[in-house]
């Protein structure tokens, strides 16, 4: 208040001596207050100040009044809204009809500077209607100030002049009513008394207090000694402290090392990344500390942290440092499990198309292979010599040797046909028996009429004409029966007969095989493997593979374990004594780098094409479309309590990739731990230990 008092002292002087700059400044502060229409604030000025002003103003105001009215407005547009001229270059027309051009507007800095330079600047007012600056005279400012205070504009006008009664009437000297004063004007009010009693009671009882309550100190020593352990226990549930925010790394520095700043291209490429994965913070460098701006997300990040603190569910999670080595299963070392095929020893070249199927004769001396170029070739295993070529004309699907050594017959499936070829191996007696066996009548039709047994025109052998496509052929262990699938048929060689016992098979059969020792028969459809007893002709069990699409099955020579390969890169090992579900599922793992590095780009790189067991060694193998063959150790113990041991041994690479698949077939040598693989690159390879 003391400033204001000082103010009121200086103001009267203001009139006499025209303006020392400090006083003007102070006036400025008042008018600016008033201009912001803060009427209360300005009326807070002491009243006597206003009085003094009044006195000093009598003389000056008359002149200003007259002079202002005389000036006619420069602009003649009349009382129209100024926004009509908003877009125009002129503001209106002067009295002679010429356009009045708009002046350039001052910006804030200019007006501020003008205010600093010129002490009288505060009096200047911009007249929008005439587009010019008008400087108020001292008298005009006084006028405005009076108006703002709610007084009459001119000091000489007295609003409270004594009332003059201009008219005369009869009872002029009397009051309006002549009634006597009522009694209640002279006795104390009952209501007021009641109210006072109320207040007294309220004050006595402490309902109304006049003195402000004492302020207690806001802070005090909250934690005394921490030694009292009983009290320093937290109530309620276990407290889970919120994880601390991540500390800043080098990249958040205001001046990070060059390598942390992404290039423009990298920054642009961030736009392509999915929004949630996009880096939120892009490092950049500022030349000096003073050029670092305020961080625009400061409040937002603080808010996000708050949200995390009170909205995010918290759980205690144990984080353990796992050694990746410890995750790998403990398996016996591969050296102990030797011998197994590991090195490519021989290559059998000659086919012109992908080799679809191979088969090794039971003697281990001969290898037959069927290819998509329509030929079947007979190879000598030891020196890779091609002994014979049969040209069938249609792409070969499957070849299979008769398991009896004395009957060197080859079953070949091609298109809708199965051929039983006489390989003309073995001594004369054997040859004779084979010829005898393969002699067929011109056309012995089967009862069912599905298959016709016809002697082949070109080569010595029988031609079995099927009505449907044949994909796989499998011989019974005694060499008399063999089975073909898609539509599962049983053929008897000695009687030249065909049976169709599985007429109502659910699903499409993928392959069918005989049990190695007993009269049990396995048919695999896309999802299941069904096991039939042939003698009793009934279903024994149904194995649920859980696979997408079964591509091949193989049975352990012991007869109790079955291997199923699938087109989604999985191999299932069934222990049929154990359950109808897989004992173990192995999955092909393709390293991502492999795909990138070696340009193996195919739609299904992991399809397993074939699985095979070794007849005597505890080995099994799988071939897949990613040009690899895997060799596993698969030991089955005679002790029924011991589970089979499966150890992956080797990945055999070497086949070149081609468009029609990688490795199409793999078979073991009957006696040696050798593996033959047939590739889509028309090469057969022999891997030895």
């Amino acid at each position: 208040m003391d400033h204001e008092a000082a103010e009121s002292e200086t103001l009267p002087e203001d009139n006499d001596k025209s303006s020392s700059p400090t006083i003007l400044n102070k006036q400025h502060s008042y008018t600016s207050d008033a201009a912001s229409s803060d009427l209360e604030g300005s009326s807070g000025l002491s009243r006597d100040q206003g009085e003094e002003e009044d006195d000093s103003y009598h003389s000056a105001s008359e002149e200003s009044d007259s002079s202002e009215d005389e000036v006619a407005p420069r602009n003649t547009v009349g009382d129209v809204p100024l926004e009509w001229y908003k877009e125009e270059e002129h503001i209106g027309y002067d009295i002679s009809g010429k356009k009045i051009k708009k002046h350039a507007r001052k910006d804030k800095i200019d007006s501020f500077l003008a205010g600093v330079d010129d002490s009288r600047n505060w009096r200047k007012i911009f007249d929008e209607y005439n587009d010019e600056e008008v400087e108020l005279t001292k008298e005009e400012t006084k006028l405005i100030r009076r108006l703002l205070k709610g007084k009459t504009p001119h000091a000489e006008v007295d609003p409270y002049a004594p009332y003059v009664d201009w008219f005369d009437w009869e009872d002029k000297g009397h009051p309006l009513s002549n009634a006597p004063e009522p009694k209640r004007r002279f006795i104390p009010s009952k209501w007021e008394h009641r109210k006072v009693v109320q207040y007294i009671r309220a004050i006595r009882k402490g309902w109304i207090k006049f003195d402000k309550p004492e302020e207690e100190p806001r802070y005090y020593l909250l934690w005394g000694d921490d030694s009292t352990s009983a009290e320093s226990k937290r109530q309620g549930l276990k407290y889970i402290p919120a994880p601390k925010p991540k500390l800043a790394g080098h990249e958040e520095s205001y001046n990070p090392p060059v390598e942390y700043i992404p290039t423009q291209e990298e920054v642009n490429s961030y736009q392509l990344i999915y929004e949630e994965d996009r880096p939120k913070f892009i490092p950049r460098r500022y030349e000096s500390l003073r050029s670092v701006p305020a961080y625009e997300n400061a409040l937002k990040e603080g808010f996000d942290r708050c949200l995390d603190l009170y909205l995010c569910p918290r759980t205690m999670k144990k984080r353990i440092n796992i050694d990746p080595e410890s995750l790998k299963p403990r398996l016996p070392s591969r050296k102990d499990l030797k011998p197994y095929p590991s090195i490519c020893y021989l290559e059998y070249k000659g086919h012109a198309g992908p080799v679809k199927s191979i088969s090794v004769a039971i003697s281990g001396q001969w290898l037959a292979s069927g290819s998509a170029d329509g030929t079947v070739r007979l190879w000598e295993v030891e020196n890779a010599r091609c002994l014979k070529v049969w040209e069938i004309g249609e792409p070969i699907k499957c070849v299979a040797w008769n398991p009896l050594p004395e009957l060197p017959i080859l079953a070949v499936s091609a298109g809708h046909d199965v051929l039983l070829l006489d390989t003309e191996l073995g001594d004369e007696e054997e040859q004779h028996r084979v010829k005898e066996l393969l002699r067929a009548d011109s056309s012995t039709m089967d009862d069912s009429g599905i298959v016709s047994w016809i002697p082949h025109e070109k080569y010595a052998g029988i031609w079995l004409k099927h009505s449907k496509v044949v994909t796989t052929v499998d011989w019974h262990r005694k060499g008399d029966y063999f089975t073909t699938s898609r539509s599962v048929l049983l053929h008897q060689l000695s009687k030249k007969q065909t049976h169709n016992p599985f007429k109502k098979l659910r699903g499409l059969a993928v392959s069918a095989i005989f049990h190695p020792t007993r009269s049990i028969f396995f048919i695999s459809t896309k999802n299941h493997v069904r096991v039939y007893d042939l003698l009793k002709s009934k279903l024994i069990s149904k194995l649920e593979t859980g696979l997408h699409e079964v591509s091949s099955i193989a049975i352990h020579p012991g007869g109790n374990n079955l291997l199923v390969g699938s087109k989604d890169g999985k191999i299932c090992w069934f222990d049929m004594d154990l359950s109808s579900r897989p004992y173990k599922t192995l999955k092909y793992v393709i390293l991502l780098e492999h795909l990138v590095d070696k340009n193996v780009c195919r739609t299904h790189p992991k399809d397993i094409t074939n699985v095979a067991f070794h007849r005597s060694y505890p080995l099994f193998a799988s071939s897949s479309e990613d040009c690899t063959a895997y060799v596993f150790h698969g030991m089955v113990y005679s002790d029924l309590n011991q589970n089979p041991l499966i150890v992956p041994l080797e990945i055999l690479r070497g086949h070149a990739s081609s468009s029609s698949g990688g490795v199409l077939d793999s078979k073991f040598h009957p006696r040696q731990p050798w593996l033959f693989t047939a590739g889509a690159d028309s090469v057969i390879k022999l891997y030895c230990h």
Binding site: L221, L222, S232, A248, V258, L289, P313, I322, L586, P648
Partner: protein, 598 residues
């Protein structure tokens, strides 16, 4: 609560969804939020989400805990009280309304602070967020429309200054880092590492995508918490809290004491902002600018107070010094205390003063600044370092070094006085590295970090030099040790020499090429043609081994169970990502170097 026939145990009984909890407590959602924030109750993750995955679950015990909270009743009371005022106003009973407004019920959070943090160490452990938030609000503008009130901002400023005064006085600041987001500080109080972020001292931006009410609720609790923590800390060094620091004032009457307190809240900010920059002065209201005698003295007093904890050896400092005996201090504190011991700093107008006034005294330096109330002037002879942040300066004193502010921060982080030549006025300072990164664990060490390490090592080796000769002769053990060092040195020197030779050779080759008339670009393209071929060779050489490793990996993966395989893949992917990042950094580094040379 539990209905008949409902489960008595298990996840369904133990956890309750938010909506149900709100209904159970019979409060509105905003009040529920407020209670949760003040009480520190957070949702918990049940093992099985009985009522759906998308819902938030609270533990039933937590909700019961809220249910019995006296604050809940208090809030209800406040609400009904507000209704009374409203009613009185509506009935034009101004007298009653005013009387009611005068004695509005308030609540205190001290009990909650104690309940959430039963021991002081617990409170310190959770102080990070609190400090960051208080410092953030200390830099915010007061906005009435957003209900950010001036006195709260001032309170935040006061609390943050008190905290900083304590940290600075007890020399327990450990690390600092200037990031784009602000300045990080890490202090160690009672064995707890406390890290907080202060925004740059600039006008902060208020964005409309935040719910300021929630932040204010958090702030309410944090203010209480920090106040009590400050009290305890000041108490532990025998200083009265709230700080009234001028002993002359203390000796005088109580009204002066009250005035002083008033100044403490009100004019500290004034004095600082007035000093901070001339620009700010324009923004100040006019009535504050009037400097009458009385106010000037007040300002002086306030400054005095502000300096006291910061850099004047006043009563407070003596008190603190007494409290902290030399034997109490651990190695770290001693080291920190004596880092800038022999230096005298002067801050130029444009450097961030608040931060440096905090840091330099924390590490034992003496500091002054340009402006009113500074302890000493720029012209003082024994100033060793002047901190400037502008491209050039008019008049230079030869007796002192003109360095950029980053030098202080880098020195602090490395706990050593670094060479100043790279930080001198007008130069591009070397990169500013984060002290929070463990370079070895990260797998990539920036160049400058290595250089600093070398500098420090060199310094340490140089220091014991003078007494070398005698010791060498005296015992063979030290000789051996010396030998080891020598060998290391020799190795390093050898490498250096090799590098030099390489460079020289390259230079000569290039000269030759120039003589032969090969253009620069052609030479480079040749070089680039040659190098890939070499790379490929190397790749093939290692390719086979890699294949074997891969083989084994795939083989072992084939027979793994699915979950383990997933875990292993995740670990591998993580490793891969880390390696990728490092590779990218190295690539960028190489490119940058190439650009610089080419």
């Amino acid at each position: 609560m539990r209905n008949e026939g409902k489960k008595k145990e298990g996840n369904a009984a133990r956890f309750i969804t938010r909506n149900k909890a709100v209904k159970h407590l019979q409060v509105g959602l905003p009040l529920f939020r407020k209670l949760c924030i003040l009480k520190g109750i957070f949702p918990r993750e049940p093992k099985r989400k009985v009522e759906g995955n998308e819902k938030t679950y609270y533990h039933q015990k937590d909700i019961n805990f809220l249910f019995h909270e006296p604050l809940l009743a208090k809030f209800r009371h406040i609400r009904s009280y507000k209704k009374k005022i409203k009613k009185a106003r509506a009935k034009k009973n101004r007298e009653l309304a005013e009387r009611l407004i005068d004695r509005q019920p308030t609540y205190k959070l001290d009990r909650l602070v104690l309940e959430r943090y039963p021991s002081f160490v617990d409170a310190l452990r959770d102080l990070d967020d609190c400090l960051t938030m208080v410092h953030l609000f200390a830099a915010l503008p007061a906005v009435n429309s957003e209900r950010i009130q001036v006195d709260r901002i001032h309170n935040c400023r006061r609390l943050s200054h008190e905290w900083q005064a304590y940290i600075s006085r007890t020399h327990c600041l450990r690390k600092t880092f200037i990031s784009v987001k602000g300045i990080y500080y890490q202090a160690e109080v009672e064995g707890q590492k406390i890290t907080w972020l202060t925004p740059h001292a600039l006008q902060q931006v208020l964005t409309d995508d935040v719910d300021i009410n929630i932040m204010l609720t958090f702030l309410e609790f944090y203010e209480a918490l920090l106040g009590f923590v400050n009290f305890k800390l000041f108490h532990s060094i025998n200083v009265k809290y709230p700080p009234i620091l001028d002993p002359r004032l203390e000796a005088l009457a109580a009204d002066l004491y009250a005035l002083c307190r008033y100044i403490d809240v009100g004019s500290r900010t004034l004095s600082e902002t007035a000093q901070n920059s001339n620009l700010l002065e324009f923004q100040q209201p006019y009535n504050e600018k009037k400097d009458t005698r009385a106010e000037e003295s007040e300002v002086r007093l306030a400054q005095l107070q502000y300096q006291l904890p910061a850099n004047e050896p006043g009563a407070l400092m003596h008190l603190m010094g007494d409290a902290k005996g030399a034997d109490e201090e651990d190695q770290d504190t001693k080291e920190c205390k004596s880092l800038f011991k022999s230096f005298k700093f002067f801050l130029s107008r444009e450097v961030p003063r608040e931060s440096l006034l905090f840091i330099i005294p924390a590490f034992g330096g003496v500091v002054s600044w340009e402006g009113d109330g500074a302890p000493f002037r720029e012209t003082e002879e024994d100033i060793t370092h002047q901190i400037v942040d502008r491209p050039s300066i008019g008049h230079k004193f030869l007796s002192r070094e003109y360095i950029q502010p980053q030098w202080v921060y880098d020195c602090v982080n490395n706990r050593d006085i670094l060479r100043t030549d790279e930080y001198l006025l007008g130069r591009d300072p070397p990169p500013h590295l984060s002290p929070f990164v463990d370079n070895e664990a990260e797998g990539y060490i920036p160049e400058y970090a290595e250089e600093i390490k070398r500098q420090i090592a060199a310094k340490k080796q140089v220091l014991p030099m003078p007494g070398l000769g005698d010791r060498d002769l005296a015992d063979p053990g030290s000789l051996l040790a010396e030998g080891v060092i020598d060998r290391a040195e020799a190795n390093e020197a050898n490498e250096q020499r090799k590098k030099l030779q390489m460079l020289e050779k390259q230079y000569h080759d290039e000269l030759n090429m120039e003589l032969q008339g090969v253009t620069f670009s052609a030479a480079h393209s040749e070089g680039s043609l040659q190098t890939p071929a070499g790379d490929v060779d190397v790749d093939e050489g290692t390719g086979i081994e890699l294949d074997q490793v891969d083989n084994e990996l795939t083989l072992s993966k084939v027979s793994m169970s699915r979950s383990r395989r997933g875990l292993l893949t995740a670990i591998e992917m993580n490793k891969q990502r880390k390696e990728d990042k490092i590779r990218l950094l190295k690539e960028r580094k190489k490119r940058a170097e190439f650009n610089r040379s080419g």
